[in-house]
Symmetry: D2
Subunit: 415 residues, 4 copies
């Protein structure tokens, strides 16, 4: 196997502390760790993980290892990689290839090194690893399947499947209810505001917040903005989602009309150049700009940077751009996803459900993947139910089950 | 055609006033009415409508008639039928078979009379009309298809389809986003509280409200309860929905544990006898009971009535039951769906989206139904989009469209 | 004593049922009724009550009677007087002078008849009774004091006191925390929406609601609008209150700017002609107008009526006005306070706290009023605390008390 | 004058950047800075400021200096003092006496050094500076008055006044509406959650949060918790506040009953040892503890520390305590006020209103203080209004004024 790439092996103790903290707050994974250790469902399997490489991902990797797997880990975004966590995982004996601030070329190289493990199973976040796998046909015979974490990767996997160019089954974690109902709505919803508050030390109440995109993530971001006292304007191209935003107390209008009213603009679209030159020109002095979508270029930062007559740091994670007409625009986290660039990403309990889906889906692939066609697949409903049950148990919550009479009644309709 | 059944022809003026009011507040249907009048998409078609027969449904029937159809109308629930609206529609020349307070036998007979029209198309709410149609094979050759309004009817249609016993295509209106996002969440969500407040003149703030069932309707009911200042406990058998409720600020627990804490219990499950004897025994003195689900027996009213040592009206739509141990339980609207039995049902603008889906789906069936297999079908996405666009237009709201660049970018993933 | 004025003595049974219902839901007054019956704090006292004469007020009058008082009751607003409740109280042996729909002259005459009782104590709502008392100096020697329910009456009492023209002490119920925190915020806040929903059967979610006035009542109305899914614009002349509205997620702007955005305008100012001709001219077609303030003329209904080219009822409690330019404006409840004209006024539990303050304040006056100077007085803090304690007890809620250590610590600062 | 105490003069550039950032976001103070510079209302005055010494306070000090004052600055809490800001202010030429992490003795000594300026005016936060002034009678003849920022200092000033031991007038900034409506509710309300999220990277939604104390600050903290998706239990000794919490959707119960349900406990009482040994014993494993009140010992940290069998850092600002029974309790920020110890304190725009009150009150004292008796005084209503007007202007918001007719109408009641 390839030798590790670890920038700061001496930071392992800090990384271990971080992992210990999230373990305390990820009761579902703790339960699965025990189960995996006892049952060894991944014995003999090689697994590559490429997800934002911080403490929560590290714990997932350790759970997979506890299940018997040999695990290689690389990051999915150079900004989110925590070198102390990398060091801690390496010390635990996993294969590590990652570095905070890596260049795109390095990122690609690290993924390649990880894939040199010749994995049976991969966990991907955005689809890059799956793409690279398809470029290395010699690896494909061993691959049982992949699990994909996010919307963007889901779109790519589906496109490949439609084109008949998917070489193995991909489980779409993002489409499970236990993923988007919690991770997208509440994970993104909260952590974006954690990032904004941390970066700016400004108040949300009383502000006019423009949220572009009202998918599950945008809805979470908008709901939390309302809960923090903001007035929310939503800009959305899908009329059904736009109407949904309206009915949830948001104003809805075209972006260009919203811009001059904004105190803060947040992009949550998955579309490059959502906030374009004409919008930047329509903003008022002192407007805050942040991105909560997957791609760093939802805001046209390149234009902003080239157009500005002055550009300087105003606070950690806040850059000020003085435009030719004198207005200052304030960009958070360089336009990178704000909950990761300006805060610590999704809360631990949120990743607990998402990663429990991952762990059980990897197990499902290990056990049943051979019989699955090379297509994009939904996570089995039983896994979704199991994760929710574990989540409730972890919160010390019990629920009812239907009585036999009620089941019969319900099934009567179906008979 | 069968002669009309109209209990109070002399009330037509009141009915017309009611219909006029909802017309003013249903801009989407107004738009479709004009379109239908100009294009006559239903010319020569016979349509039977069986939906809660009040003003909003009446307007839908008039829109269908404007599109060229011959229309017969009957109710779907004897409590919701408004005799003045029946009279007004009859005066307009439609075929009417309905009476407030009809017995189950009468209801069935009225449906039969309506079906004597030998319909090409039917609009159903709960599935009874579709069942009756299947009992009259002589009518089936003319039937192009049906549209089904609610969850319960959707379940029945799907069961028939699975069993290979569906004789014509059924469009599942309830599964369209423009239906459940608005009608179930906001229509039920608001009107249930309209009914509770109107029936009781009691405050919601500060109360402990137990909501049983956290589907789209239950979620709407719970959200509005929070918005009115209540503490909400959710009881739910699906662990994913239970976890969703938890993340939205509700407490989650088994029903029997929730009962002694309740000031008000609301059933929203679609399951008979959701609130059973053991639950009734666990409630405190003075607890309010109401049902917001489709069926009147989600609360075991029969048991309540037989167990009580005294039972008397305490206020219009509120009955008091004195239990053997001295506790009083207060039942709203006799256990019938509270927004209809104690208030005027869903708001007009909400039914505007639901019935726009119906009108466009009926048109779709008229135009394309012959080529659809006899199965349960989703409403075409284009209809959903169109309704949302009309809703936004009716609210004087414009939205953006993606630029060609953005479309290319998005489709890049899909290429 | 003057013979009763009771329009419909035959409706007493309905009135008794109404009173029974509120008694079940007013645990604080129930507790005080027992206490008053046992202790007879009002023995030998004559009390005149002039408050919205419906079931909750009736129960207050009965509690005072239970305390030993001879009680005369008249209404404070002809629209809110319930003839069945009047009949029920008369049957109970109280002196009654009231009729639904009384003319202003009749109202004044009824108050005069009530005052012929030559009261020791009066409960007033708006200050009219106190004014009339000052016009009859022969009655003043017997008067111990008065309790005033609302903001408007508080202003008049204070004005009299400042001018040295107040002949007896007035306790300002409205200024007690247990009044405005519950009655103004939650009582008005909820019941206004009860009235709007009942009158219109329209949805609140997705609407733009303009609330004029952000005092305690306006704040309650705005908060509930948000809780029901509306976007709220607040118009307010006090900059501090305006800024408070802003920080609570409302938009703030001048009224004329808000009008063209409104789906519904609500006046909550206590100022005549808040909504004037220029505002009416700026509204869109189909806008709803309602008043939630004390005075019927906060909306310039006279102008509306004279300007309209057509005016007709559109639904019970909704009048449509067609303006010369073709726009329709929809007025709720004739411009009278919407929670009373279109619904049943404040919830019972809310009036339970307000009227508990009244009952204990009347008792306080009976016991200590002779030593109070003729001025406007705050309700003693001990009464406020007592009412809150009873409210918590009625909701089966216990709270902590400070430990001796903590009291010493707190008092350390004060020593 | 005494030589400066500045720990890190080399950090001035960072401090200047911080001050520059808040200046951009404090439009009211910017406006007052211009005004003060032009009018020199503090010319010849010596002012001592003792408030949490970070960027926002620094900007206030600079505004006072712009108004002509000679200014000495010291901190009010060793944890909140930012050494880079101290350095920046010193470089600006103000007198500085502060150091992050100072001991109580040092704190007292620094205050003494600042007072050596022999101030005409002081700005205090908690009352320590005012206490020290009274211990140095030689300084009193020059003192015109003081402004007090917080509840705790207000209580002390009032106690002194009652005892006849206040030597100069004190303006109670905290009692101005523009203070408590914004600073206490929204400033504390938001920043506490900023601190909790930053310290823990945990989710708030779905948690049971116990808030002890429902004053303005506690209400803000509880409201934001609800807005972030938590279920909130309030513990409060004042029955009126407890009832208010109940009506705002919180559960209310004694603390000991709440403890076993808590995921997070927040003290906001101003009372030492609010969370005592018996409560700590009743908490579940993994409970988070944080303090949002003025004093670091609202949680009995001393007991926690002595009782624990193990105590170790789990994450920056989180300490884990293993209790003898095996439970872990997680303390945030060492029990110090969590928004300052774990985040950056109140948002800039919030301090903009609070410090505008300070600046205008200092000016008021400079101009009129000589004629004020040595008592605790409310801030003049005109200052409150002015600050609110400036706040609205800073948010580009206009509001209406009453018409002459409306004023006459309103005053009619008062005539």
């Amino acid at each position: 196997m390839q030798p590790n790439v670890v920038a700061h092996p001496e930071w392992a103790a800090e990384g271990t502390q971080r992992i210990d903290w999230v373990r305390r707050n990820m009761p579902i994974l703790r339960q699965l760790e025990e189960e995996f250790r006892a049952q060894q469902p991944l014995a003999g399997k090689r697994v590559v993980v490429s997800v934002h490489l911080e403490a929560k991902t590290a714990y997932l990797a350790l759970v997979l290892r506890a299940g018997g797997a040999e695990v290689a880990v690389t990051g999915s975004n150079p900004e989110s990689t925590k070198d102390d966590v990398v060091a801690a995982l390496a010390e635990e004996g996993l294969h590590l290839y990652a570095r905070h601030g890596a260049t795109p070329e390095e990122m690609r190289r690290y993924m390649g090194l990880a894939l040199d493990l010749s994995p049976h199973l991969v966990i991907d976040d955005g689809g890059d690893l799956v793409e690279l796998l398809h470029e290395r046909p010699e690896l494909l015979p061993d691959v049982i399947g992949a699990c994909e974490e996010t919307t963007s990767g889901v779109m790519r996997a589906r496109a490949r499947a439609r084109a008949g160019q998917l070489a193995f089954p991909v489980l779409l974690i993002n489409e499970a209810r236990c993923k988007y109902l919690f991770d997208n709505v509440h994970g993104t919803g909260q952590s974006v505001w954690d990032g904004v508050m941390r970066a700016t030390n400004l108040v949300v109440a009383g502000k006019t917040v423009v949220v572009i995109g009202y998918g599950w993530c945008g809805k979470g971001v908008a709901t939390r903005a309302q809960g923090l006292g903001a007035r929310v304007i939503v800009c959305e191209v899908d009329p059904v989602k736009a109407a949904d935003a309206l009915m949830n107390g948001c104003q809805v209008m075209p972006l260009l009309e919203a811009c001059p009213q904004a105190d803060l603009v947040l992009t949550v679209t998955g579309i490059r150049h959502t906030l374009r030159p004409e919008h930047l020109a329509a903003l008022r002095d002192n407007t805050l700009l942040a991105n909560a979508g997957h791609f760093w270029d939802e805001i046209d930062v390149t234009h902003l940077r080239s157009e500005a007559v002055e550009c300087r740091p105003l606070r950690t994670h806040v850059e000020g751009f003085r435009m030719p007409d004198g207005r200052w625009l304030h960009l958070l986290g360089g336009g990178n996803i704000v909950n990761i660039s300006c805060a610590d990403g999704h809360p631990a309990e949120i990743m607990d459900t998402s990663f429990a889906l991952q762990a059980l889906s990897v197990r499902h692939l290990a056990e049943h993947g051979a019989s699955l066609p090379p297509d994009a697949h939904l996570v089995p409903e039983a896994i979704d139910q199991r994760v929710a049950e574990l989540k409730l148990a972890g919160s010390r919550i019990r629920i009812d089950t239907l009585t036999p009479d009620q089941v019969a009644y319900r099934d009567g309709w179906e008979a």
